[in-house]
Amino acid sequence: MESVLKIKDLSVNFNSKDGIVKAANNLNLTIYSGEILGLIGETGSGKTVLGQAIIKILPQTARVTGEIWYGNRNILALGEEEMNKIRGKEIALIFQNPSSSLNPSLKIGEQIAETVQKHQGLNKKEAWEKAEAILSQVGMPPRFAHYYPHQYSGGMRQRAMVAICLACQPLFYIADEPTRGLDVTVQNQIAGLLNSIIKNGKGQRSMLLITHDISVAAALTDSMAIMYAGEIVEYGPTREVFKNPLHPYSKGLLNSHPAKGLKPIKGFSPSLINLPEGCKFFSRCSRAEKDCQKEVPMFGRKGGKHIVRCFYA
């Protein structure tokens, strides 16, 4: 398989008055064409930061180091002007909270048409027609283009977000918690929509699905990376990770789902300002030994593509 996006040694730090917030540390990740890669983790584990780093919309206070290769271009080295051509046209981001990401004072149709007008040079009328066509692609009647975001329900707003991203037919999608805060039935619809977008792309489209919901990850993703405190602790094909989770944190995360026994992990995630040395999961881990506290474990390969960052897995 061909790789679409390669992230190499990516670190993101923020300066704050209390110290340096290490939001992401030395991330390495490859996304292949045609696949949905799930990035799983709790609030504050750095998964959203990674998504935002890919299309360079992090706040100014962020210090980003490393490389992000999209095709033969290093995104981190590109200028703002070149980046504007990529955003929306080649890489699209589906934001976490559609109610605050849509412009409340523009009709949904206008917001979709805006993207098409900018990237494809269509005139206003053509762009509007295109917008209506895209809306019906995401399962909504074209007349809904005349509505404002407040007239939409939560699930419909999320569809509108997806429609905006679909507008220029980009090949790489980043979906940041697309199903958060939605009802079960609507969650199912949005998951189905995202799945059909990628699966109808003839192996050309791929997606980075950022989520904390392991059931959505199970249903959609081909492979998954589990993040904890700014680090990826485990990566592998979804089926294998679910069948045989290796990292103690992954095990805990899977078992804390209500359908899988509701067994909580004790303790709290560490603050990103005072990250412990060595393994970040040390204080909550049941298998921890002395050396875990001294040294950050490197990735160990466990057959095929399954890798884990733990001395004792």
Binding site: E42, T43, G44, G139, M140, P141, G154, G155, M156, R159, G181, D183, V184, T185, V186, Q187, N188, Q189, I190, A191, G192, L193, N195, S196, H212, D213, I214, S215, V216, A217, A218, A219, T221, T238, R239, F242, K243, G252, L253, L254, S256, H257, P258, A259, K260, L262, K263, P264, I265, F268, S269
Partner: protein, 299 residues
Amino acid sequence: MLEAVNLSKSFYYGLFQRNKNDAVKNVSFKIKKGETLCLLGESGCGKTTAGMMIAGLIKPTSGMVLYRKENIFKYRPKELKKFRTRLQIIFQDPDTVLNPRWIIEKSLSEPLRIHGLANGKESRDRIMELIETVGLSHEHLNRYPFELSGGQLQRIILARALLLKPDFIVADEPTSSLDVSVQAQILTIFKELQKKFQLSCLFITHDLHVARCIADRIAVMYKGTMLEEGNAEDIFSNPVHPYTRGLLDSLIIPDPEAVHPLDSNIPITSDRNYTGCKYKELCDYREQICEEKEPVLKK
């Protein structure tokens, strides 16, 4: 212990209040001591409104809420104040519940002060005891709400709800804004405490997985009406109403091997259709009678 009898609430809106919205219609249920009833439904189905009426925060248009056989809306102010110590509410979003300018200890001691139950050292001891039961320590007491994470805040709110030793708790989506791992922590504590203090609970949620873990009985709501009620296990193993079946079928389970019935079609329903069954537009078993009459709950 607590009983809702034909509870209905209509909201009036628009010019001269001409439009009417039946948020809750003829909802009845009983909750025994130590029992958890889960109100399950999608957003906008009226489950929060029902919860607010049970807690006495919204006055129903018709129907009544009986607490130990007394109608809570007939209480005199003194009785109402006493009732408020017996029933506590846990709200959905922990960030907006606590006063952001008060340290946690002040927020926690306020209910004790208002009801004149304890002050000074006694109050502090009580708070300390509870804060440890929910898995936090005394250092959290001197912090402000913004210094704590969502999971820690929800623990504080749980502690505050238990301070007055209530016997009934209305929990409105207490874990919907939390991560799965934090949710597991909170739900486990909640279940432990419920057992320890023999609490009855009305648990409002849209999450079927959560409902299954926490509920003794489940009531399924849709567009303001109750469609099905029964033992939690019965509802999951043998759902009778077509809506409940659809809901269970749409559930995504955390197993990549399972067949996921993903369906990207959007069902369009109208809001203003008051005759007949509320679910008729989406129902596969629709017949002529569903258009004309609204079905009533039967055993």
